[in-house]
């Protein structure tokens, strides 16, 4: 159940510090949207504001609107915990729960939320999620082994399986392949291409080839100087961004003439 996300006039603050300024963007369902830009320009902050994860950091707050299929994510009566149930997230470093087995890691979203589920249904869900993350064939014989014993790339796919097991509408990925080798990266990218049939995917990446390979839409973030807020410079179809961008700054960044 992929959903559309509309962001309007979004300002993101940490305390009194304005981190990201005036973002207006529409993220299409069943597509991959890539966010690129230099370090510290607010891509990750913007990504985390979509599922209200930036509120975990003390002082994190927003002004403006993020609307997902008509539902205001920052409405007064909206519980951030509910938002995060609908918008899953994969992090830069693979972070499986060290105390849990592979099976329990995938089932974590169900088990930790104390949802009752029949054992056979849970087995099905775990298998489906692991197959969805292209990991089933590698781990099906050792589901009860600790998740921390897998390789880095496998751990990251385990985290993806864990995120899709709760069946979110949107999947946010914060540099999901930056800690991985090229083979594992390819596996993750192939997986994203499969997953976009079912989810709206937003990915932050420093690897522009990756953005060009996997995404339909690309947003370029930049900041004018240290201490200045980051802003969304350009948001266009990926082909246009990488061949004929509207903004000079985008072209400079993409062609490596940045800074």
């Amino acid at each position: 159940m992929a959903k559309r996300i509309d962001v309007s006039d979004l300002n993101i603050y940490y305390g009194n510090f304005l981190a990201v300024e005036n973002v207006n963007v529409s993220i299409e369902p069943r597509s991959i949207t890539a966010l690129i830009g230099p370090s510290g320009c607010g891509k990750s902050t913007f990504l985390r504001s979509i599922n209200r994860m930036h509120e975990v950091i003390p002082g994190g707050r927003v002004e403006g609107k993020i609307v997902m299929d008509g539902q205001d994510l920052y409405g007064a009566d909206v519980d951030p915990v509910d938002v995060r149930r609908q918008i899953g997230m994969v992090f830069q470093r693979p972070n499986p729960f060290p105390t849990m087995s592979i099976y329990e890691n995938v089932a974590a979203g169900i088990r930790l939320n104390n949802k009752r589920m029949r054992k056979s249904d849970l087995d099905d869900l775990v298998e489906r999620s692991l197959r969805g993350a292209n990991l089933w064939n590698e781990v099906k014989d050792r589901l009860n082994r600790p998740g921390a014993g897998l390789s880095g790339g496998q751990q990251q796919r385990l985290c993806i399986a864990r995120a899709i097991a709760v069946e979110p509408d949107v999947l946010l990925m914060d540099e999901p392949a930056s800690a991985l080798d090229p083979i594992s990266t390819l596996a993750i990218e192939d997986l994203m291409a499969d997953l976009k049939e079912r989810f709206t995917i937003v990915i932050v990446t420093h690897n522009m080839q990756q953005a060009a390979r996997v995404s339909e839409q690309t947003g370029f973030f930049n900041l004018s100087g240290v201490g200045q807020p980051g802003r969304l410079i350009e948001f266009n179809p990926t082909e246009k961004i990488f061949s004929n961008p509207d903004q000079k700054a985008t072209e400079d960044y993409i062609s490596g003439r940045f800074g």
Binding site: P58, V81, R84, T99, G109, P146, A163, V166, A212, G256
Partner: protein, 361 residues
């Protein structure tokens, strides 16, 4: 969109070329030992002359040996290796010095306490005992009951305080609580005892002696230790795990209960066990709050109870006539206490080994 950058031109290797020809002269590995043996022999010869005792003999041997090793190495191998040897000697001597009280204490307690480490000591109390025989069954049970009660009070309070400090508190409140916990760590144990006594004296009048009073006094000492160790352990849980849990739509409190605590359970268990070991041998607060008794009292809410440290204290200070039997019992009580603490430390190690997250490799 190329991201390649020009690689820096390879610079010349900066590693110094090994000097040829002059191969450094080296002393054989056994030479320091030989020097120390020699020093011991020299000092041994001088023993009758200067009327030494064993402590002075060791001291002179170490000083003489260290000096000799330093000078010998300096003349043969040069100043850098000489300094290395000198510091090695100093470190080993410091280690030896630190071991002296430990080994001598254990040796003394074992040699004196082993005599009465028999079945009767664990099976009988002191009721009707004048002189020989008798045991510390009542004191052992008292210590176990009081310690269990203390743990029951301290661990929930301490753990929850630590969780509050790490997961919820921030700013001024957090600093205030941390400061107060630090102050509590430094409270002299007798003050904790007087606090519990004064507290109960308000309700039950002066002269009150209850097991639970002792447990409360010990809790005052144990809570800060639990808080500090649990706080350190909880801080070690990577934030990424909390975020992973939040991102699955798990509320904060459930993240703490099901992710943070299970991840750190080994460290928490170790900290709690060591905190227990810290309070199990406390004497002063129990002296005020529990008193002593010769009979077995297993009810912590009714009257005086005996505990091992207080038992040892009274056996030693009020031994009766002849004093030998009571003194023996005191040493054995001390030995049992040490064994108890050692057992707790072993348990702590086992906990941290068995509950540590497994990598499966």
């Amino acid at each position: 969109m190329s991201q390649t950058s020009t690689a820096p031109a390879p610079t010349g290797s900066s590693a110094p070329a090994p000097r040829r020809g002059e191969r450094a002269r080296r002393l054989p590995n056994w030479s320091p030992w030989a020097v120390f043996l020699g020093a011991a022999a020299v000092v041994g010869v001088l023993w009758p002359v200067f009327d030494l005792n064993i402590a002075l003999f060791v001291l002179y041997t170490v000083v003489l040996g260290t000096l000799a090793v330093y000078l010998l190495t300096r003349t043969v191998e040069g100043p850098r290796r000489a300094t290395d040897r000198l510091v090695t000697c100093l470190v080993v001597s410091a280690f030896g010095l630190a071991m002296v009280p430990l080994v001598s204490l254990v040796w003394e307690v074992v040699s004196r306490g082993a005599a009465r480490l028999d079945g009767e000591f664990f099976n009988s109390s002191l009721v009707g005992i004048v002189g020989e025989g008798g045991g510390a069954y009542h004191a052992i049970m008292g210590t176990l009951i009081i310690t269990a009660l203390t743990t029951l009070i301290s661990v929930p309070i301490g753990l929850m305080t630590a969780i509050f400090l790490v997961e919820y508190a921030r700013g001024r409140l957090k600093r205030a609580i941390t400061f107060l916990v630090d102050v509590m760590t430094g409270i002299p144990s007798i003050v904790a005892g007087l606090f519990a006594y004064a507290l109960f004296a308000i309700f039950f009048g002066p002269g009150i002696r209850l097991g639970v009073m002792g447990a409360i006094a010990l809790s005052v000492l144990m809570i800060p230790v639990v808080v500090r160790s649990a706080e350190e352990v909880l801080k070690l849980v990577p934030n990424e795990l909390r975020e992973a849990s939040y991102a699955l739509g798990v509320p904060k409190w459930r993240t703490i209960v099901k992710v943070v605590i299970p991840t750190s359970i080994a460290g928490l268990g170790t900290g709690v066990t060591l905190a227990i070991a810290r309070v199990v041998g406390e004497t002063a607060p129990l002296l005020i709050t529990l008193g002593i008794t010769n009979a077995t009292n297993l009810d912590a809410f009714d009257g005086r109870m005996a505990t091992l440290p207080v038992y040892a204290y009274y056996q030693l200070t009020q031994p009766g006539v002849p004093p030998q039997f009571a003194t023996d019992r005191a040493w054995t009580a001390a030995l049992v206490l040490i064994i108890l603490v050692m057992g707790l430390n072993v348990v702590a190690r086992l906990i941290s080994r068995f509950f540590a997250p497994k990598t499966g490799r």
